[in-house]
Amino acid sequence: MIRISHFIAIIYSIIMLILTYRLYRKNKLNFLGLGIWTSIWLALFAGILLFDRIETVANILLGMRVMDVFVFGAILIIFILLFLLNFNIVENKRKVQEIIEETALREGTKKK
C-alpha cells in the first residue's frame, strides 16, 4: 500500500534525478558527481518502493527497522558530503588567494 509519505519521497527522488541530470548536461556537475547523486536518489527511490522487502532484510541482517537504516545511512552521507564540501571550500579559497597574489605581484612589479 502506498502511503502519502511514500508518494512524497518518490516525487522528491524523481525531481532530484531530473535536476541532477540537467545540472550534468549544463556542465555544472561532473561525471563523478552525476554518479554519486544519481545513486543517492535511486537508493532513496528503491528504498521507498521496496520498503517491505528491505524491512525483512534489514531485520535479519542488521537487526534494525528499515527506517533506522535510512536515518543511519542519511546521517553518514550528510557527514561525508559536509567533509567533502569543507575540503572543496578550503581548496577553492587557496586557489583564489593564489590568483589574487599572483595578479597583485605581477601588476606591482611592473609599476614605476
Binding site: 583564489v96 588567494q97 590568483i99 589574487i100 597574489e101 595578479t103 597583485a104 605581484l105 601588476e107 606591482g108 612589479t109 609599476k111 614605476k112
Partner: protein, 221 residues
C-alpha cells in the same frame, strides 16, 4: 652602497588619511607601496596621486594578506629594509630613520614600534592589547610589551623567516610568534600612541580568534 628602504602600507577605506601618510612616508623612504584591499572609497586614486606604488587587490582579503603582498612586492622591487605602517595615521613615518639607525647600530633583525597603553588608547583596546601581549609573553617566553603593533621595521634577510599565513588581524600575533620561534634579534622602540579612528582596527572577535590561534601555534611548536 645605499640600502633601499620600502614602506608598505595596507589600506582599506582610508582615503581620508592616506595622502598625508604616503607623503610623510615618501620623505623617509625610497619607495612607498600601498596595497589597497579593495576599498569602497577612492583610497587607490588618492594614494597614487600622493606618489605611492599602488596595487589594488581583486577582492577584500584582510590586513594580513595585504601586508604580506606588500612585503613580497617590496622584496621583488629590491628592498633591503622593509617598514610596515598603518594607513590611518596611527604611526608616524618620521620614526623610521630613528628605528633604522638602531637596527643597524645594534645589528638587529627587526624593530617593533611599541605604543604605550596610556589614555590615548581607548580603554577596550588597552585591555585587549594587555591581554594579548601578556598571553604572548606567557606562551612564547618573549619579552614584548605591545605585541599588537602594526609598525615594524625589518631586514630583507629576516622576512622569509617572518612571512606569515594569517590573512586578517591575526597577522600581528603571528608576527611576534615567528620572531620568537626563529630567535630573531629584536627590540621595541617607543612610539606615540595615536588613535585617529577609535572604532576601526581589531575588534573583540578578532582578539579572541588571535588568542585561540596563539594557543594553537604554541601547541604546534
Amino acid at each position: 652602497m645605499k640600502e633601499k628602504i620600502v614602506v608598505v602600507i595596507p589600506a582599506y577605506n582610508e582615503a581620508k588619511y592616506i595622502e598625508k601618510v604616503v607623503k610623510r612616508a615618501k620623505a623617509v623612504a625610497d619607495e612607498v607601496v600601498v596595497v589597497d584591499d579593495r576599498s569602497k572609497d577612492n583610497t587607490e586614486a588618492v594614494a597614487r596621486k600622493a606618489g605611492a606604488i599602488v596595487v589594488r587587490l581583486l577582492a577584500n582579503m584582510g590586513a594580513g594578506f595585504s601586508t604580506r603582498i606588500g612585503c613580497d612586492l617590496a622584496l621583488k622591487r629590491g628592498a633591503d629594509i622593509i617598514a610596515t605602517i598603518d594607513a590611518d595615521g596611527q604611526h608616524e613615518p618620521e620614526d623610521i630613520p630613528k628605528m633604522l639607525s638602531i637596527l643597524k647600530k645594534e645589528d638587529l633583525d627587526i624593530i617593533f614600534g611599541s605604543r604605550q597603553r596610556d589614555k590615548n588608547m581607548p580603554i577596550i583596546k588597552r585591555i585587549g592589547n594587555w591581554g594579548l601581549s601578556t598571553l604572548t609573553k606567557m606562551l612564547f617566553n618573549i619579552n614584548i610589551n605591545d605585541s599588537q603593533t602594526g609598525f615594524h621595521v625589518f631586514t630583507k634577510k629576516a622576512y622569509p623567516r617572518l612571512r606569515w599565513d594569517s590573512s586578517r588581524y591575526g597577522v600581528v600575533s603571528e608576527f611576534v610568534v615567528k620572531v620568537a620561534k626563529s630567535n630573531l634579534r629584536f627590540i621595541e622602540v617607543p612610539i606615540k600612541t595615536i588613535y585617529t579612528d577609535k572604532k576601526t582596527g581589531m575588534n573583540k572577535k578578532d582578539a579572541l580568534k588571535s588568542a585561540v590561534k596563539m594557543v594553537k601555534w604554541r601547541l604546534e611548536k
